[in-house]
């Protein structure tokens, strides 16, 4: 993949990701998050992970974000009113996030493999869906079934939470 496409999509992902936490209107935040996830899916595809990229678009940009948007419109959340800013918490959060970022930069810049280019593919096409499916149904069959139980538990939990009569 040409490098400029990486820059475009990485920049899109980070700018709209920052937009998520900067916007005061929750609907604008959700729409920013959709664009950020679409750019992330493009980055997945640039890493030859086509299955993960498509799942990212279908599950995240499709299902999860629609759920967010639906709940925000159901609750009728407006843009937040300005409140008195808790300066200790704000400065503390910014400092911790910046320290984390500096730490990540330090670790990655000292990583020996970080400057090597990606190895070329053995063949021009990757059969990643085939490989992931074979792994899911052989070596990772038990975790796959546990995930199924988890989704069932989540479904039952959501139904119980929304049906319960609250005081």
């Amino acid at each position: 993949m040409p490098s400029f496409l990486f820059w475009i999509f990485a920049l899109l992902m980070l700018v709209f990701g920052a937009g998520v936490i900067i916007n005061r209107n929750p609907v604008a935040s959700v729409l920013n998050l959709v664009v950020s996830f679409l750019a992330l899916a493009a980055l997945f595809m640039s890493l030859d992970a086509y299955f993960v990229g498509i799942i990212q678009v279908l599950v995240y940009a499709g299902a999860v974000m629609v759920l967010f948007l639906f709940i925000i419109m159901l609750l009728d959340l407006r843009a937040e009113k300005r409140r008195k800013i808790n300066w200790v918490a704000t400065v503390g959060g910014t400092v911790v996030a910046l320290a984390l970022l500096i730490q990540i930069f330090y670790v990655v810049s000292n990583l020996r493999d970080a400057r090597q280019p990606f190895p070329p593919l053995a063949r021009s096409t990757t059969d990643d869906v085939h490989n992931i499916g074979a792994l899911l149904f052989s070596a990772y069959n038990l975790p796959f079934q546990i995930i199924g139980v988890l989704v069932l538990v989540a479904t039952v939990g959501v139904v119980v939470l929304s049906k319960r009569q609250l005081p």
Binding site: S3, L40, A49, V52, V59, E80, I104, P119, V151
Partner: protein
């Protein structure tokens, strides 16, 4: 060509953005969205490492994709349950602001 380090830095910056969102924002739904950003940053670094190992050990590389698949599934379940809790909370308190919700039981 973009090397592994660029992808890791992009992933780290996305994680830091999500982390700052969790620390700074006071709206529960925005906090949940920032959590999603952090999960996706982890996914990006997993896929980047998988692509880096694709030539040397293909079976090992695709295990990372399986792991990403699990992370996405768990995140979707987490969002569904979290938003159901927020709706139940909103019906009682008419707010999603964390500073309005300070008691453990009501």
């Amino acid at each position: 060509m973009a090397t592994l380090g660029y992808y890791l830095l992009a992933s780290g910056m996305l994680f830091a953005i999500g982390f700052a969102g969790v620390m700074l924002r006071r709206n529960l739904i925005i906090i949940l969205m920032a959590l999603e950003l952090m999960l996706n940053a982890a996914n990006l670094s997993l896929v980047a490492f998988a692509r880096f190992r694709l030539q040397a050990d293909a079976a090992l590389a695709y295990q990372a994709h399986v792991f990403v698949f699990f992370i996405i599934t768990v995140a979707a379940a987490e969002v569904a349950v979290g938003l159901a809790i927020f709706v139940a909370l909103f019906r009682v308190r008419q707010t999603t602001h964390v500073e309005d919700i300070t008691s453990l039981k009501f």
